[in-house]
């Protein structure tokens, strides 16, 4: 162990000497990472984002030969951790995991941070919302449900899946808008996350939930709920029988909760390229694929440029949904 680190030290000091001698910048990137890297997670230990970040960090460590330490900077409903990533030194030794909330919080006036405050590195995961009803519900297809919603007075149907203004709330609003209905056609019942919402659905307190399919999986498998459709471009391999909205209704609407890796703005391009390449290797590894499919999480790859475009598109979509729902302060 000590031998290896001495060797790395020798190599890195040689590289530094070389870059000093020749004014040769990219040599620095060759040496990166020369010391441990901190990976900031804006959410608590033990949750889904934490687990994803930890597996990515473990695999990065294997590839790049330096420890990648996961640090949970929680608090402020994700604002604290996201600002810690944005305000870190752009030297490549602090990166972090962004979540979909970064494209939502600024619309509510909770923070000035937007997807533009970062150097995107890679999109690693996306989970689309499903549309679930209780197993005792009379609606067998999403079309029947949608027709009933259209026919009912606004607010008659109650849906849940997360808190007010959360990602699954906006998914519902987006779906309503795609059908040409007002944002409040279905009343949103705020809940403390997907699990209590699924429980309340089974207890008969709600008409539908719009949380992600992995979150609803156990209750569906217990025969207490059905998934009618998913708001994604393609079907979920675990639930092959659940159609997409486009297949079932011809509505081209897709959204989702995503997770990606980014660094602070102005990360040196050499370091960013190196990290994106390493993240691609992580994404392609069997360990990552197995881990994510065991947790029921979807895997989606996007390189730096794709991730940036993806976030911009999502940001605009979220802004629209939030304005429609009256949640936006901007």
């Amino acid at each position: 162990m000590s031998k290896i680190s001495r060797r790395t030290f020798a190599a890195s000091s040689a590289a530094v000497a070389a870059s000093a001698a020749f004014g040769f910048k990219p040599a620095l990137a060759q040496a990166y990472p020369a010391r441990p890297v901190t990976v900031i997670v804006p959410w608590g230990a033990g949750g889904g984002t934490d687990a994803t970040a930890r597996i990515v960090a473990a695999l990065l460590e294997k590839d790049l030969g330096q420890p990648f330490n996961v640090v949970n900077r929680t608090g402020g409903s994700g604002v604290v951790g996201h600002s810690a990533i944005a305000t870190a030194q752009p030297d490549g030794y602090t990166i972090g995991m962004l979540t979909v909330e970064i494209s939502m919080m600024h619309w509510q006036g909770l923070t000035d941070l937007t997807p533009k405050s970062y150097t995107p590195l890679a999109l690693m995961n996306e989970d689309p919302p499903g549309i679930q009803v209780s197993s005792s519900s009379p609606y067998k297809t999403v079309k029947e449900l949608a027709d009933a919603i259209k026919a009912a007075p606004p607010g008659k149907f109650k849906a849940s899946g997360t808190g007010q203004g959360g990602i699954w709330h906006l998914a519902l609003v987006g779906w309503m808008q795609a059908m040409g209905l007002p944002a409040n056609q279905v009343a949103w019942v705020p809940s403390n996350g997907a699990a209590p919402a699924m429980q309340d659905l089974a207890a008969g307190g709600l008409d539908l939930t719009t949380c992600s399919v992995p979150e609803a999986r156990a209750i569906i498998e217990a025969g207490k709920a059905r998934s009618l459709a998913i708001m994604a471009p393609a079907r979920n391999p675990i639930f092959k029988d659940v159609p997409t909205l486009k297949e079932a209704m011809g509505i081209d609407y897709a959204t989702g909760a995503w997770r990606g890796i980014a660094g602070p703005k102005n990360l040196p391009p050499e370091i960013a390229t190196k990290l994106t390449a390493a993240l691609k290797k992580v994404y392609d590894s069997a360990e990552y694929k197995d881990f994510m499919s065991n947790r029921g999480f979807g895997t989606v790859w996007g390189d730096a440029a794709h991730f940036a475009g993806f976030m911009d598109k999502g940001d605009a979509q979220m802004g629209e949904a939030m304005k429609a729902a009256g949640l936006s302060k901007a």
Binding site: T74, G76, V79, S83, K158, V189, Q199, G205, A218, I219
Partner: protein, 503 residues
């Protein structure tokens, strides 16, 4: 059935599993007994370790560490009046009073013994009654949760030794604290003063650490050293427990049953189980005047209750993937990661793994007795150490623990602020435990009330229409009106009695 049981035994009798259980038990005991570090944190910090373990060993570490940490939260509660977990806060005063009376071993022995009994009762309920218990859990909608949370809040007045008015005032301060943040039904920032750190609200754990641990250190700095406890060797810890079991068998059984039922309900968990059971114990006791003076009866019932709720809290987690409490939420993540996906198939296709989980619960609860006794013996030296040496260490633990919660200084500031609040409240006779209860229950009361009203379009009828809600409503309103009726009854009766004597 027998074959699955044998398969389950084979699964857990590997060195990896045995070493994991043992190491996680010791780890859970140590973390739980340090003031400022909670059982939830102990479990969360184990998750990265479980990456490298086999599925059964991974679950074993979670089961063992969480069971041990909930028990060992009683140790600093009894010895220093600093509860390790919100669950222990319900009876920390009582256990500390017993220590001052020289009955520390009886109080802690009751903790370990009735925790183990409760834990095993919880596992048996998980084994035998999982499907019907799960049905109970699924029949609870927000209407029922509202009444349940209200009943939980009422325990504040029952548990407090001070005047009920001051207890209610303390509880309201807790409810006010629970309003902070944007994690409310409207998603609107409240009382955040533009501070990002306040968006997430005040977590119960840093508040608890502040009002109990930091306030205790502050009191210690001002008050003269209390008369030292007679220097003596700790007596047998288990002696007398069998006598207590026979004497209080009804309280123990009631504690187990209440713990199992509350544990099964997602979101209620061990904290509420301990509070409700302690309050029930006082309410139905033949000698309620002894409560608060170092009386073991409430410890028996509440200790049996909170550990029973841990195991039964796994029922909704295993059947539906719905966590019973924060620890179970972490456990669900580990279950998915290890391919033991929650759901009914876990009970049929992977029955041997399920039985292995049951067995691990039983083993962990049996191991709790010897390991817990060893831990108590070590911890007992705290009573001999000079106060000047202990208090700075406690401060250090609080600062480190509160920093570790979110890796930022805000946690430390919160703990310090609540230390001051707790100190001021306590000096003026306001029970801080009632405030902690307000913080723990406040979110649930508000969330269930507002969401219920959204669902019913503003009508309050559904709060009474659903059968379970009606029963809970009757209990809550009855408990609320009972003292008033007693008061009116006395008022009516006294003039008559006075008239009778004057005649």
């Amino acid at each position: 059935m027998l074959k699955t049981l044998i398969d389950a035994f084979a699964l857990i009798s590997t060195w990896e599993v045995i070493i994991s259980i043992f190491a996680a038990s010791v780890y859970g005991l140590v973390i739980g007994s340090l003031p400022g570090l909670s059982a939830t944190m102990a479990t969360a910090l184990l998750v990265p370790v479980t990456f490298y373990l086999s599925p059964i060993a991974a679950i074993a570490t979670i089961v063992a560490a969480s069971s041990m940490a909930i028990f060992s939260g009683d140790i600093p509660g009894a010895l220093l009046r600093i509860p390790g977990t919100p669950a222990s806060a319900a009876y920390a005063d009582e256990a500390y009073a017993m220590t001052r009376k020289g009955q520390a071993e009886l109080a802690l022995g009751a903790g370990v013994w009735f925790s183990a009994v409760g834990g095993i009762a919880g596992v048996l309920s998980l084994m035998i009654l999982a499907p019907p218990l799960a049905e109970i859990a699924l029949s609870f909608s927000t209407f029922e949760y509202f009444w349940l949370a209200l009943l939980g809040l009422m325990c504040a007045t029952l548990v407090a030794r001070s005047s009920p008015v001051k207890a209610i005032a303390g509880m309201f301060i807790g409810l006010l604290v629970a309003c902070i943040g944007i994690e409310n039904p409207g998603g609107i920032p409240r009382f955040t003063f533009g501070l990002t750190d306040l968006f997430g609200g005040i977590e119960p754990i840093p508040a608890l650490v502040g009002v109990f641990a930091v306030a205790q250190v502050m009191r210690a700095m001002l008050a003269p050293e209390p008369p030292p406890l007679p220097r003596r060797k700790f007596g047998s810890i288990l002696a007398g427990q069998w006598r207590l079991t026979k004497l209080y068998h009804w309280q123990m059984t009631r504690g187990n049953i209440v713990g199992i039922i509350i544990g099964v309900l997602p979101g209620a968990g061990a904290d509420m189980a301990a509070w409700v059971s302690y309050a029930m114990s006082k309410r139905f006791s033949k000698e309620p005047e002894k409560f608060g003076t170092g009386h073991v009866e409430g410890l028996v019932e509440a200790g049996a209750s909170n550990n029973a709720s841990i195991a039964s809290g796994w029922v909704p987690s295993l059947l539906f993937g719905i966590p019973g409490d924060t620890i179970a939420a972490i456990a669900i993540g580990v279950l998915y990661m290890k391919g033991l996906n929650p759901g009914p198939t876990l009970f049929t296709e992977k029955a041997s793994s399920m039985y292995a989980i049951y067995l691990m619960f039983i083993i962990a609860n049996i191991m709790m007795i010897p390991l817990g006794i060893a831990m108590i013996r070590v911890a007992a030296y705290i009573l001999l150490a000079p106060r000047a040496a202990i208090m700075p260490v406690i401060m250090l633990c609080c600062a480190v623990g509160s920093f570790a919660i979110g890796n930022n200084m805000f946690g430390v500031v919160t703990v310090a602020a609540f230390g001051v609040i707790g100190y001021v409240m306590e000096t003026n006779g306001y029970p801080v435990a009632a405030m902690v209860l307000g913080i723990v229950m406040g979110t649930m009361v508000e969330q269930s009330f507002v969401t219920s009203l959204i669902k019913s379009d503003g009508s309050i009828l559904p709060f009474f229409e659903r059968p379970v809600a009606a029963i809970l409503a009757a209990m809550a309103i009855g408990a609320l009106l009972w003292p008033v009726m007693v008061w009116v009854w006395r008022k009516v009766k006294r003039p008559q009695a006075a008239a009778a004597t004057s005649r």
